[in-house]
Symmetry: C2
Subunit: 361 residues, 2 copies
C-alpha cells in the first residue's frame, strides 16, 4: 500500500524481501530477494534507491547503519529503529521523556519471579524485547507455573525478555503520526479491537471525551519525538478505567490501525509515509466523512479460492475491499481488509462484520 502511494506520486519502487513475489514485490521489477544480512545484496539494493524506508521494524538497526554509511537516506533511521525494535529500550526512551507507560522491568533470568511480582504484582505480561507482533512474543503470567512455561516459550523465540504491568484497560486506542524534520501531522484517535491479540476492528474516530483525544494526540507526537522519528508511526495506547492514557508500544511504519485512512482521510497514512520519508510537505489528516470502520480479513482454517464469496462481499457497494495478494493463507494471517465510511459507527460496524462473514481467504 506504501508502494502504491509512491507510484501515485510518480516514484519508482524497489523492494528487498526474503521471499520472491511478496505483495509489494509483485508491483515492481526492481525486486531484490535475499537476506538484509547479505552485504552485497544490500549494497546492490541501495544502489537502486535514493531513499530507503521500512515496512516492518524487524530489520536490525545495524543493517540500517550500513546503508547510512553508504551515504543513503534512510527514514526512519538506524537511531530511531534501535530505540523502537528493542521494546525495553523503547519503553525506557518513552519513560525518560515523561511519557506515561505501564510499569515494567527487565527480566534477566528465570529466577527473579518474586522481584517481578513485587514490582508489577500479578498478573503481569512477559514479553520478548524484539520480534514480537500480533501476540507473538507476549504471555500473561499469574503464577510460577505459567511463568516457567512462558519463559521457556518466549526465550526459544528470542533470548531477551522484559515484564510489564498488566493493564485492565477500558479501551485500546491508536494514533498515527507523520513527521518530517519540518512538520508533524497527527491522525484521529481510533479505537482498536483485538481478536486473539490480533488487531481486528478499527473505529475511527474513537468514541472518547475531547480531552482524551487531545491527550492521546499530544502523547503520540511526544513518542515520535522521543525516538527522533522521521516517517509514519503508529502508537498503540491503553485508555485505563480511570481515563488515563498509557502508551503500549509504537511501530515505525504505517500501522494496521491506520488502514482506514486510505479512504477515510484526505491523505492516507501510506501517502504521508512516502511524503515524510521524502521530507516533502505532508497532507491533511482530516477525515473525509464522520466515521470509518475497518475490519481485517484474516486467513481462515479452510481458505477456499472463494471467488464467489468474494463477489458476494462486493455487493455491499459502499464497502472498500482490499485483498493483499498474499500467495499463502494461514489461520489468523492478515489477508486483506474492508473499510466503510459513514455517519453511524454502529451501523458501519454491523455492515463491516457482515461483509467479513461472507469472505473466506
Amino acid at each position: 500500500m506504501s508502494a502504491m502511494a509512491a507510484y501515485r506520486l510518480g516514484f519508482e519502487v524497489a523492494i528487498l524481501d526474503k521471499e520472491q513475489y511478496s505483495p509489494a514485490g509483485q508491483l515492481t521489477r526492481h525486486e531484490f530477494i535475499g537476506s538484509v544480512d547479505d552485504d552485497d545484496l544490500l549494497k546492490r539494493f541501495s544502489d537502486a534507491c535514493h531513499v530507503i524506508t521500512l515496512e516492518n521494524e524487524f530489520v536490525d538497526y545495524r543493517r540500517l547503519e550500513f546503508l547510512e554509511k553508504l551515504g543513503k537516506k534512510v527514514h526512519p533511521g538506524s537511531r530511531t529503529i534501535a530505540l523502537i525494535q528493542d521494546k525495553l529500550l523503547q519503553k525506557n526512551a518513552l519513560r525518560k521523556k515523561g511519557i506515561p507507560v505501564a510499569d515494567f522491568l527487565e527480566v534477566k533470568t528465570a529466577s527473579n519471579l518474586l522481584k517481578i511480582i513485587r514490582k508489577l504484582s500479578i498478573p503481569f505480561v512477559l514479553k520478548s524485547r524484539k520480534m514480537g507482533y500480533d501476540g507473538y512474543g507476549n504471555a500473561l503470567v499469574s503464577n510460577k507455573q505459567e511463568f516457567d512455561k512462558a519463559y521457556e516459550a518466549l526465550t526459544s523465540r528470542h533470548a531477551h525478555l522484559f515484564a510489564e504491568q498488566f493493564i485492565d484497560f477500558q479501551m485500546e486506542l491508536a494514533v498515527m503520526v507523520a513527521r518530517t524534520s519540518k512538520e508533524t501531522r497527527v491522525y484521529p484517535v481510533v479505537q482498536t479491537l483485538q481478536r486473539g491479540h490480533i488487531c481486528h476492528t478499527v473505529i475511527a474516530p474513537a468514541h472518547i471525551e475531547k480531552k482524551v483525544t487531545v491527550d492521546a494526540q499530544e502523547i503520540a507526537v511526544e513518542c515520535v519525538k522521543a525516538v527522533h522519528g522521521i516517517g509514519l508511526f503508529g502508537i498503540e495506547m491503553f485508555l485505563t478505567r480511570n481515563n488515563r492514557i498509557l502508551v503500549n508500544e509504537m511501530a515505525p511504519r504505517p500501522h494496521n490501525s491506520g488502514h482506514y485512512s486510505i479512504e477515510g482521510c484526505t491523505t492516507s497514512q501510506f501517502e504521508n509515509h512516502i511524503r515524510s520519508v521524502m521530507q516533502f510537505p505532508l497532507g491533511s489528516t482530516d477525515m473525509v466523512k464522520s466515521y470509518a470502520v475497518m475490519v481485517n480479513l484474516l486467513g481462515s482454517k479452510d481458505p477456499s479460492p472463494g471467488m464467489k464469496k468474494y463477489t458476494t462481499a462486493l455487493r455491499h457497494h459502499e464497502a472498500h475491499l482490499h485483498i493483499y495478494g498474499k500467495h499463502e493463507s494461514r489461520v489468523g494471517r492478515k489477508m486483506g481488509h474492508v473499510t466503510i465510511l459513514g455517519h453511524n459507527p454502529q451501523q458501519l460496524l454491523k455492515q463491516a462484520k457482515k461483509i467479513e462473514s461472507t469472505i473466506s481467504l
Copy 2:
C-alpha cells in the same frame, strides 16, 4: 490507475505495450513488449491472462477477435470496439438507437465539399474515422482552402474521414458508465473544459438543471447499450445553447474526465472498470463530498526535473496529486493531474489552478 485498482482487489496484472516501462508496465513483471499485430506475442500475453481489457480504443477489433477465438474473455469485446473505434460506425450505431448526435456524413473524396456544406452548413468539423484523440484527427472547416488543407493533413494520418455539424455548445459534459451483463452504474454528470482540444479541467458535478442531469445520465447508459458494452465507458456530450444534449463521442475505457472519481466517488472509475470486466458486482458511484475539481498537469515546453516545484504543490495539503511516471514529457502530454474535494466549486477551481501553476512536468 486501473492496474492499481486491480492489485487492490488482489489480482495480478500483465501489460502488453509497444514500449517498455510504461506507467502500467512499471507496476508488473508480467510485461509484454511489442505489437498487438504479432500473433505469437499476443498468444503469449493471453496465456498469462484470465481476463483481458484495454486502456485505449486503438487496438484493431480484429486483434480482439483473435483473443476471443483463443477462448479468452475480452471486455469490452471485439464487437463493441468495432463499433466504437470507427467514429463513423459509432455515430451510426448511436443514431440508429435514437440517441441525439450532431448531424454527420461520410467524406469519401476531397471533391464533395458542396455536398457537405449543403447538409451541415459551415463551419463544420472534418474528422478522422479512427485514431483521433486530444484534437488530433479533427479540423474546423469554414471554406474551400481550409477544407483542402484539413483533408490533406487528416488523410495523411488516417485514410478515412467523415464530417460533422459544428455545435456552438454552452457547455461540454461527460458521464462515466460502468456496465456488466447484470448491472449498470452511472457516475455524476461532469463539466469538462478543454484547452487546445485537450481536456484540462473537470468540475464534478456540472452546474446544470436536474432535468439535464437525468437526460445526460439516461443517454449515457443508452450509448453503452447501443454498442453492447461491458466495462467502463466515458461518454462526451455537448449541452447546446437551447439545453439539448448531443452525444459527441464515447470511449470504451476509464476516461480523463473520470479521474476525479479516485477520491471524489465511493468507487473510482478504475475500480469499477476492473469490477465490470471481471463481471463482479459494481461499487457505488456516489460522490464523497459535494464537489470535486480535477485539473490535468500537461507537459510544458521546459520540463524541469522540478522536484522543488512539485513539493510546493504538495503544500496545498488538501490536494490529491497524481504523477503518472511517464519517462518523457512533451508539450501538452498528460503527465499527471490534481484533484480537490470540497463544497465550493469556484474555490476548488481557483485552488487547483494555483497548484497547477506551481508544477512544471
